[in-house]
């Protein structure tokens, strides 16, 4: 087991991002950064713009204003598959797995960008294509071991219980060996035991694989335990940013969560 990688320089810089759908403003001028190897949480009440923020980072939404810089490369418009190619992997709030495919195939799909054989080699299933399959299969098996899902390796994902599906989705993201991992409510709808398992996996991913993690989570105790720094959004604006302790004491945050008397 390796020692936890030290938190380094910012790898992701979100600057003044403004996003609106017609007249509905989802994000109004949000800025924050994410440092290498840290676990960064985004929290906020329902509809605060957390998922929108994640979607901007991996290119599902294109903000009207502002930039996102990943590893120093600034961009305003990027497509999700380009973001993936830069080393950003993610999971979704409402699990987005390939339901008809087995766990193994789902994870292998996660390695899509790492595989290099061309179309013709694959179509004919030539030597290089076969060797490549085996090579990547090994990496995927390592992820399967890591997430303790060996027993469902060949099961179609659609048949798995919810908690396991969440885990498989994390596995698919990990299979891509991402530098930045975006997790949209990885523990939503889980029971206590499942939450503890998932927390452990996230910490291990961060520790052992050195991945930088940005996660959205509602469960405060989880956020406080896991994250190094927290961004708080409310009505599309950033209202606080700091360590879990700082955020917990913040007046604006308490108001946003508990409501203020008018």
């Amino acid at each position: 087991m390796t020692v936890r990688s030290a938190i380094g320089v910012p790898v992701l810089e979100v600057e003044d991002v403004f996003l609106a759908f017609g007249g509905v403003v989802a994000l109004q001028g949000v800025s924050f950064d994410v440092r290498e190897h840290e676990i960064r949480a985004i929290i906020g009440p329902n509809g605060a713009g957390k998922s929108s923020m994640l979607n901007v980072i991996n290119g599902v939404y294109h903000p009207q204003r502002g930039t996102v810089a990943f590893k120093g490369r600034k961009r305003r418009k990027v497509d999700p598959y380009e973001a993936a190619a830069q080393g950003i992997a993610r999971t979704f709030q409402n699990i987005a797995l390939f339901r008809g495919m087995s766990v193994l195939d789902n994870l292998m799909t996660g390695r899509y960008l790492k595989m290099k054989c061309n179309f013709l080699e694959q179509a004919l299933y030539l030597g290089p294509a076969r060797r490549e399959e085996l090579e990547h299969r090994e990496k995927v098996e390592a992820v399967i071991d890591f997430l303790e899902i060996q027993h469902v390796r060949k099961t179609p994902v659609g048949r798995l219980p919810y908690g396991l599906q969440k885990r498989v989705e994390l596995g698919r993201a990990l299979a891509a060996e991402p530098e930045l991992l975006l997790l949209d409510e990885p523990m939503a709808g889980m029971n206590l035991e499942e939450k503890q398992d998932m927390s452990r996996f996230i910490l291990d991913v961060n520790d052992q694989m050195g991945a930088t993690v940005v996660l959205i989570e509602h469960d405060m105790s989880v956020v406080m335990d896991l994250s190094d720094r927290v961004v708080v959004l409310d009505y599309g604006s950033k209202i606080a940013d700091g360590t879990p302790e700082e955020v917990r004491e913040n007046k604006a945050v308490i108001d946003a969560y508990l409501g203020v008397a008018h």
């Binding site: 991996n58 599902v60 497509d79 999700p80 598959y81 993936a84 190619a85 992997a89 993610r90 979704f92 987005a96 797995l97 390939f98 339901r99 008809g100 495919m101 195939d105 292998m108 799909t109 996660g110 390695r111 899509y112 960008l113 595989m115 054989c117 179309f119 694959q122 179509a123 004919l124 299933y125 294509a129 490549e132 399959e133 659609g158 698919r172 993201a173 891509a176």
Partner: protein, 297 residues
């Protein structure tokens, strides 16, 4: 009994040809969730382009290669003009778009090469195999046998491709969930071009085999209708289903014609598969190999 086997084998071999048509549908349905109504038109277009070039004096292999190039061009064009603007639209919209595409392809084919019937000779005669005839007295066509061999090889390659390769998995991934496919780095546009190209290739093989048997003519477009019962029986998203469905349709229509036909005045071959499919829908709507969807309420 010997007569029964003769009919059965003849039916199975004809069934392989149906499978081939159904395969084109399955490919596109698997990868983009679209029922491609234009598959029949693509079969016609591919075959007509081949014989068209041949009538201009090109040798068969060159003509077939040129037709394949035309199918690749068609795939790029379809992705750019039809699929890309309609991304995230409901399935029915895409289905309607493929109906439009059907008329477009048919129109282009006939404008370019004319509407007359061309004969196509692949060098394999549609005659009974001599030694089999002598040994067992069964009448099995050499052409049918060769066509089945080609179809079987094509299917084997495709099945391997879909299950064992990166692109094959990406195709299935796109069919399953666009959003997730994008997030793991799969470009939808690229996948669509690949899948339509593959379907175009299958259409070309289908068109050449059917064209050699019945002549290259407009009636080839109606093959699409023959594929429907095959798809209902086998399931819309299963390559294995297309094969088995085709075999069942081929065998059952020939057997029904011979054994049930006389009691109702004959000519039931043309509609028996549809009735069979209808009955099947009641029992197993997802088909033999189709993916059973269980929805949580």
């Amino acid at each position: 009994m010997q007569f029964f086997f003769e009919v059965l084998i003849g039916g199975l071999l004809a069934g392989v040809m149906y499978s081939l048509v159904a395969l084109g549908f399955v490919l596109i349905y698997k990868a983009s969730g679209v029922f491609n109504f234009a598959q029949g038109a693509m079969v016609y277009f591919a075959a007509l382009t081949t014989v068209g070039f041949m009538s201009k004096g090109a040798p068969f292999w060159l003509a077939a290669a040129l037709a394949l190039a035309a199918m690749v061009a068609l795939a790029f064009l379809t992705e750019r003009v039809v699929l890309r603007p309609l991304v995230n639209q409901p399935q029915i919209t895409l289905f309607m778009a493929t109906i439009g595409l059907t008329f477009f392809i048919e129109g282009v084919a006939q404008l370019t090469w004319g509407a007359q019937v061309y004969a196509l000779d692949l060098g394999v005669t549609d005659e009974p195999i001599g030694w089999l005839m002598d040994r067992s007295g069964m009448n099995i066509s050499r052409f049918d046998l060769v066509a089945s061999g080609i179809a079987a090889a094509l299917v084997a390659v495709l099945a391997l491709f879909f299950n064992k390769t990166r692109t094959g998995r990406a195709l299935r991934a796109v069919a399953d969930d666009h959003q997730a496919a994008l997030a793991v780095g799969i470009s939808l546009q690229k996948i669509w071009v690949i899948v339509w190209t593959t379907a175009g290739f299958v259409a070309l093989v289908t068109g050449l085999l059917w064209g050699a048997r019945n002549g290259v003519q407009f009636a080839l477009t109606f093959l699409a209708l023959k594929a429907l019962p095959v798809l209902v029986l086998g399931g819309f998203d299963s390559i294995a289903g297309a094969i088995v469905g085709g075999l069942i349709v081929g065998a059952s229509e020939k057997l029904a014609e011979v054994y049930i036909g006389p009691y109702v005045g004959g000519g039931i071959e043309s509609w028996f598969p549809y009735v069979l499919a209808l009955g099947f829908l009641l029992v197993r709507p997802e088909g033999l190999f189709g993916e059973r969807r269980i929805d949580r309420v």
